[in-house]
Structures are given as structure tokens and as C-alpha cells.
């Protein structure tokens, strides 16, 4: 089939056959127009119930729309990794292991998972999270680096390197809503699949070089490694009352920025 007979997905850039109604790499509907607000935020693709997508020798079927389930059919020699508490069910044949991580003590102290589990094919295994939201399927092409809010990743294919990046600056750590670390996913030679779960609705925008936007830190979901984050605080006072400080994260491009609409405001805990 020639390139002219294929259709490009506007979300992930992958090519699918012209007769496809959903992207084979990320599941995004191909037969509906993108939802983009006047302010420039694009809604993450609303994955249709029972949409199927491929990675390596495996497939993923997305089931449900309120708290969607990612059901993985692992092919031979394929594996995925995940935080153990997101596992919903699995076949007996799926082998489980533990992935060794660098900086285990730092991760433990920072409240990040220091044990990441691996499931290996063949067999079926399914994952879901603990609140209403959307699955964000991100096929990662070679050379990509993506930073993700801690605990937001649902599963990732084994071909992707998983590490963490330290949030720089005391103000960013204290008021940035991410804690000390963010997960970092890096692809080397082979492409891979990363699935995130965003609370509520998920929106993405591409920031140009030097372009910035102020964000409630709790709404941050993911960003390209090239996007920088710096927390700025504004004092809101009224008369005798001390008022409150409003901390917003200034995200500066270039790169993609993803946010979730149902966020946990860390200062109202």
C-alpha cells in the first residue's frame, strides 16, 4: 500500500489504512474533527468504547468511558511495566516480575513508587485507575523524552526507558504540586507505547519557543522534556485578613503540554 493510500493521525502522526476509523497506534477516532478551543487547547482524543490499537506484537483494547480500562493482549516476548495498584485483572499465563529502578531510596522518600511491576506475554492483563477520567495514548517515537506527573502513568511498553527527573528549585518542589520528582519516559531506537490516565478531561497544547502559560500546578499531566516549569506566587490579601498565596506554574515552550481538568488543589487539602 502506498503512502497516498494511508491516513495520518493528527494526534500521534502515525499512518493508518484509509478505511480505518480509528488510528491503529493511538486509537484516536479518524472520522471526527479535532476539538480545539478558541484559546488553543486541543481535547485529547475521546477513545471510543472497545477501540483497539497495536504496539509490537501486542494489542490494547480500551473499554468503558467513565473510568476506562486498558486491556492488553501481550504477544510473545512483549512486556509492559506499571505501578502495581493499577492492575485490574489478568490471565494466569501472564508472568509478573519487578523492574529494578535507580534511586530507590530517593523515590521512596519522595512518595514515588519504588517498585514497578512488569507483565510479560503471552496472555491478557487489564488496568484502570481510581477516578473518572480519560486514557491518553501516547505512541512515543524514537528520540522522544516525556515528563509525566507522578502516579499518572498507567502502563508503558518495555521498549521505553523509565527514569525520573528531579524538580529543580525549592519553590517548585514546595508549591509545584508534583513533589520532588517527575517520571521521565525516553525512547531510544524503537518506538513504544505509553498510556496515561488523566482525571476528568485532558487537553493538550503545543507551546512555541518562549511561549508560556500559567497553570494550576495540580492540573499538570505531562510535558515534553523541553518545556520548563517555574512556580510563581501571587499574594491575595483583603484588609485585616492575611489572605492567601496563589501559586501558578509558568510552563514555557517549546513543546507539548498536557493538563487534566479534575485536579487536586494542593493548598486546599
Amino acid at each position: 500500500m502506498s503512502a497516498l493510500q494511508r491516513i495520518a493521525c493528527s494526534w500521534c502522526g502515525s499512518q493508518s489504512p484509509t478505511e480505518a476509523t480509528t488510528c491503529i497506534a493511538c486509537g484516536a477516532p479518524l472520522d471526527v474533527k479535532n476539538l480545539v478551543s478558541d484559546s488553543g487547547w486541543r481535547s485529547a482524543p475521546r477513545l471510543r468504547d472497545m477501540t483497539e490499537l497495536r504496539f509490537g506484537n501486542s494489542t490494547c483494547q480500551v473499554e468503558g468511558e467513565i473510568v476506562p480500562v486498558a486491556e492488553i493482549t501481550l504477544g510473545e516476548r512483549d512486556s509492559i511495566f506499571f505501578e502495581h495498584h493499577v492492575m485490574l485483572w489478568k490471565d494466569l499465563s501472564v508472568a509478573l516480575g519487578v523492574m529494578s529502578l535507580q534511586g530507590g531510596m530517593k523515590r521512596a522518600l519522595a512518595g514515588m513508587p519504588f517498585v514497578v511491576s512488569i507483565a510479560s506475554g503471552q496472555g491478557r492483563i487489564a488496568f484502570s485507575r481510581d477516578a473518572a477520567g480519560e486514557l491518553v495514548v501516547m505512541p512515543l517515537h524514537p528520540g522522544m523524552e516525556l515528563d509525566v506527573r507522578e502516579h499518572a502513568f498507567l502502563l508503558c511498553s518495555h521498549s521505553i526507558d523509565f527514569s525520573y527527573t528531579r524538580v529543580q528549585g525549592l519553590r517548585n518542589i514546595l508549591f509545584g504540586g508534583q513533589g520532588m520528582f517527575m517520571d521521565r519516559f525516553v525512547t531510544r531506537d524503537a518506538p513504544g507505547l505509553l498510556i496515561l490516565h488523566g482525571y476528568g478531561n485532558v487537553f493538550e497544547r503545543k507551546l512555541k519557543a518562549g511561549e508560556s502559560i500559567l497553570l494550576e500546578p495540580g492540573a499538570f499531566l505531562y510535558k515534553d522534556a523541553s518545556v520548563t516549569m517555574n512556580v510563581e506566587t501571587q499574594k491575595l490579601t483583603t484588609g485585616l485578613f492575611g489572605g492567601v498565596g496563589m501559586s501558578l506554574a509558568r510552563m514555557t515552550g517549546p513543546g507539548r503540554l498536557g493538563i487534566q481538568s479534575m485536579y487536586h488543589h494542593h493548598q486546599t487539602e
Partner: protein
């Protein structure tokens, strides 16, 4: 020459061009049939993704369907106010500052937000809440007002005056010498009034939102924490019910009482389907607000 065909929104009664896909005043879609339960509740049709609501020279775009975002484009001279923890993002142009509120101490003690924040145009600013649900847009004509349960309000345009009043809805329980006062709809309620210009109030209802227009004297019992808003003409009082078959426990004790909020027309009321559990210590009922009623089955 004939007048262009007009469309009157069944929710907010605003008249607009029939060619619109949603009401420009409240965002309700025009191409859906009204869904009314046999009991008379109208299900609020969810605002369509990316629908726009016009106010002044500005507009608000509603984005998403699970936890919708209200994305405002503020023109010069226009502004909105909001509880600061609802801010999702803003651009550099939108200027944010604190709005002074009267009765700071009372608000502090009542657990209401002490600082209301305001944003002025030009610029863009967006808001969202922390529960799946629906955005409820209430356009207020000049001189109209609406009462809103505390912590439900999201954002209002600057042409709408903000005030609050004692809800008058309380009951007291006693256990030995320990006396507790409970406020099932909060100690205070918010009141929003459009003054010399029309305005817009946005609420967030958790779960689904249902509305009904009560006739004069018509009453309905609802869970107190399900109340979203009411017209100012709707009266409220508590109603206690004691089911039969529980005579072995002393009357007026926890475990055999239901606490309802009675709403009496005339006027519109809105409720949400996902409501918080009501606080009740479970101790013996000692006293309650003067208009409360009781039924022993």
C-alpha cells in the same frame, strides 16, 4: 420584511436566532428534546463540548464533558470573580487580584472562602472543579437573583453582585453535656444579583443536574446536600421523618430519623445527583430551626 425565526431556550428563556446550535446565554443545546421525568424533574441537557456563552463583550467556552472547563476570553472592561482554588490556567494578560468581602470573620468561622478572587480583561482564564459533573450556566437578567448553596459556585461576571445570608437551616443535638449545632445546607448561602446590567453565574453540579419549577405552595423534599440553587422566592425549612417499626429506640435519636430539606415554591430549584453524606453526630435531637416540621410514621 419578516422577523428572522427566533428560538426561546426552555431553560433560561433567552430568545436567540434559531440557527444557533446552542443557547448563547446559557449554552444549552437547542437540538435535544427536553428530558422530563414522570415526577416532574427536568434533566439539564449537558452543555455541548466547545459551546460558547456570550456575556458583555466577552465569551466563555465550555470544554470537556466529564469535568468541564469554563474557558473565558475577557474583553477590556469585562471581568469575573471566583474562588481562587478553581483557577485552572490563565495567560499573562488576565490580571488577577483579591476582591474584598464583608463579614470576613463570619465567613472564616463558617468555613466559607475568605478571599474571592477577581480577574479582569483583556485576557484568557479558565476554571474547573474537582468532581465529575455538569456545568450549570445561570444567566441573570437585570434585577434577578439566585441563591446558591455554599461551595457550589464557580465563577460570576462582574456585573453580578455577590452577597450572602444566614441560611436559617439548623438543628441541634445533645449527648449529655455535649451540644452540637448542624447546618445541613451550610450556615450561609450565597446570593447573586444582577444589578443594572445582565450577568452570568456558573455553577458546578456533581453528577447530573435536575431542575424543577415549583408552583406557589408546592413543596418537595430533597437531601440537603443535593441542593444546588434556588430562586430567591423558594422557601426552605427542615423536615424530620421518623419511620415506623423503630419504637424500641427513644424518639428523636439517631438511627431512626431522616433529615430532609423542604423546598416550597414559587420558583425554580436545582439539585445534583452526586451529593455528599450529611453530617449528623447521631445524638439525640435537642432543638431545631423554628420552621422545621416533623412526621412520625
Amino acid at each position: 420584511m419578516t422577523d428572522p425565526v427566533r428560538y426561546t431556550c426552555p431553560w433560561c428563556k433567552h430568545s436567540s436566532d434559531a440557527g444557533s446550535i446552542s443557547c448563547p446565554a446559557c449554552g444549552a443545546p437547542v437540538d435535544v428534546r427536553r428530558s422530563i421525568t414522570k415526577s416532574g424533574w427536568s434533566e439539564l441537557p449537558p452543555i455541548k463540548d466547545m459551546a460558547k456563552i456570550q456575556f458583555g463583550q466577552s465569551f466563555c467556552q465550555i470544554e470537556g464533558t466529564l469535568v468541564p472547563v469554563a474557558d473565558f476570553k475577557l474583553s477590556p472592561g469585562d471581568g469575573v470573580y471566583f474562588a481562587h482554588h478553581l483557577l485552572l490556567w490563565k495567560d499573562d494578560q488576565a490580571q488577577v487580584s483579591a476582591m474584598s468581602l464583608k463579614g470576613g470573620w463570619k465567613r472564616l468561622f463558617a468555613g466559607m472562602p475568605l478571599v474571592m478572587t477577581q480577574a479582569s480583561g483583556p485576557g484568557r482564564i479558565a476554571f474547573s472543579k474537582d468532581k465529575p459533573g455538569e456545568m450549570v450556566a445561570i444567566p441573570l437578567e437585570r434585577g434577578r437573583a439566585v441563591d446558591v448553596r455554599e461551595h457550589v459556585f464557580m465563577v460570576a461576571t462582574h456585573s453580578v453582585a455577590y452577597d450572602w445570608f444566614n441560611s436559617g437551616i439548623w438543628f441541634r443535638t445533645r449527648e449529655d453535656k455535649k451540644v452540637e449545632t448542624h447546618y445541613p445546607v451550610g450556615m450561609f448561602m450565597d446570593r447573586f444579583t444582577a444589578g443594572s446590567a445582565a450577568g452570568l453565574v456558573l455553577l458546578h453540579g456533581a453528577g447530573n443536574v435536575y431542575i424543577r419549577d415549583l408552583q406557589p405552595g408546592q413543596s418537595i423534599l430533597v437531601k440537603p446536600t443535593s441542593l444546588l440553587f434556588k430562586d430567591t422566592g423558594v422557601r426552605m425549612n427542615l423536615h424530620f421523618e421518623y419511620p415506623y417499626g423503630t419504637y424500641f429506640v427513644p424518639w428523636r435519636s439517631w438511627g431512626n430519623r431522616y433529615v430532609w430539606l423542604s423546598l416550597t415554591g414559587p420558583g425554580r430549584v436545582g439539585v445534583q445527583s452526586h451529593f455528599e453524606p450529611m453530617e449528623d453526630s447521631g445524638y439525640r435531637l435537642d432543638s431545631f430551626e423554628p420552621n422545621a416540621t416533623e412526621t412520625q410514621w
